[in-house]
């Protein structure tokens, strides 16, 4: 109840939101545009919310929310028995441009809302992700990547995450796990009417390391030599301090 009230309030306070609500079929906003990864970071949860012109529901407007994180190349390896007993990494497939985070939620599953080719074109749904690979050709590698990313919570296909309030107001919770990659994220909200995408809104947020965690990672990346020296000195000092502290005790 309180959450809904806050959402409503936020929506009303949006400068463009109120004026646009009259003519635009879809108005959306994000609860925060920056996620800060500190040394105490254990994951975060963002709220995507908005409203539609006509009531949401079967036969009327349908909503799809898609979030994509920064992409990177990933190698998937398969273990094979070597010498009959040892399990070693064998064939591998290299996937280019794998999203480090992917989230999709809708008022109904995407495959119910849109025709197949439309889903493929907009890569809506885990099975529609454009994953091209080099190396081993077996489709098992793609399935394995899907399984690994899903079990780590990095790829989420959630059909129940969108909640509707007062038939025109919707909100979806976007769960970011602790190991979420840093970088720029895109959130797309699609308005679907009679199996066609009639409107889309794009939002963006950034995941950034801040404070100590950021300083450590930045120094380690930009000045690895100084960072290495610092690690040596800090470790030596800790050992030396320990020996002094405990000799007294």
């Amino acid at each position: 109840m309180i959450r809904r009230a806050v959402l409503l309030l936020l929506l009303l306070l949006l400068p463009a939101g109120r004026a646009a609500a009259q003519d635009a079929p879809l108005v959306v906003a994000l609860s925060q545009t920056a996620v800060e990864v500190t040394t105490g970071f254990t994951g975060a949860s963002l709220m995507v919310f908005g409203s539609t012109e006509t009531p949401i529901g079967p036969g009327g407007d349908e909503i799809l929310v898609v979030a994509r994180g920064p992409t990177r190349p990933v190698v998937v390896r398969r273990k094979v028995p070597a010498l009959g007993i040892l399990w070693v990494n064998g064939p591998s497939a290299r996937f280019a441009g794998v999203p480090g985070f992917y989230f999709i939620a809708g008022t109904r599953p995407a495959w119910q809302l849109l025709p197949e080719e439309e889903r493929q074109r907009n890569s809506l749904g885990l099975d529609s992700l454009p994953l091209t690979s080099t190396g081993a050709r077996s489709p098992a590698f793609r399935a394995a990547l899907l399984g690994l990313e899903s079990s780590s919570g990095m790829w989420v296909e959630d059909t129940t995450a969108i909640e509707i309030a007062g038939s025109r107001l919707f909100h979806a919770r976007l769960p970011l796990p602790a190991a979420v990659p840093t970088g720029d994220y895109r959130v797309e909200v699609l308005l679907v009417r009679s199996r066609r995408i009639v409107a889309r809104q794009e939002l963006a947020f950034r995941v950034d390391r801040v404070g100590t965690a950021d300083r450590i990672a930045t120094v380690a990346e930009d000045q690895p030599f100084i960072y290495g020296l610092a690690c040596i000195i800090f470790a030596a000092l800790a050992g030396w301090l320990g020996s002094i502290l405990f000799r007294r005790g």
Partner: protein
Amino acid sequence: MQVYLPIAEMSVDALLLVGIGFGVGWLSGLFGVGGGFLLTPLLILIGIPAPVAVASGANQTLGASVSGLIAQWRRSNVDAKMGGVLLVGGVLGSLAGVQLFALLRRIGQVDLAVSLFYVVVLGTVGALMVMESLRAIRRRRSAVKRKLHDHFWMHGLPLKMRFRKSRLYISVIPPFVVGFAIGVLSAVMGVGGGFMLVPAMIYLLGMPTSVVIGTSLFQVVFVAANVTLLQAVQLGTVDILLTMLLLLGGVAGAQFGAAMGTRLRGEETRALLGLLVLSVALSLLWGLLRTPDNLFSSGPAL
């Protein structure tokens, strides 16, 4: 209490890390070794990526060994000359080891290589230690006197040098080779190498036990420092936060362990350490032999 490790890019329970540090520190104080051989596998077990575990393990070993070295240095139990020769080998060895590690990482066999190194090295060292200490315990009963050290082919090598503290006049080649080998292992396994260096010094080089611990700590501190620097520069895998949390527990644990260690007899301690080393090797071997839960694994493409 969860803490986000900036280099490992993951969130881990800080108390768990301090606890692991304490446990390993306790054992290392008890047995007079760095404990890296226990630490790195444990870190990998709780889900720290192998490259980060190895690099941060070396960094932790450095910190854990410093206090021991200071104590030994005060009692002048360090043969700096012998340590220097070992160190030259060790630095070159760790340079080679880090190159080997980078190559393994590129071809995706780091986890296998680290496990295999552990199984072979720990299995051999553990078995030798258990056998040797059992023989020593039996010999104590029959009380046969042993020579200071045996002379064999090694003592005919050129480039002889006098090591006054160790009361030795031997070729520099054996200590150099020993140092080099430990350096390679140190870079690949993330260990200081004390558990291999100590027996090598006693049985291969014939050094008196009084200077062995101090001199091995001397070598371990500097080789671990070198490995830390090389891993940080070349692979960027040293996580200082992880290191400091481990040291926090480790430094305290080592003191308790050392206090308890003085109440154990030498042979019994060595037999226990040998059993511990063997059991780590066996559990890692089991990890390689059993059918994995998931045949597939993914990692960043390099």
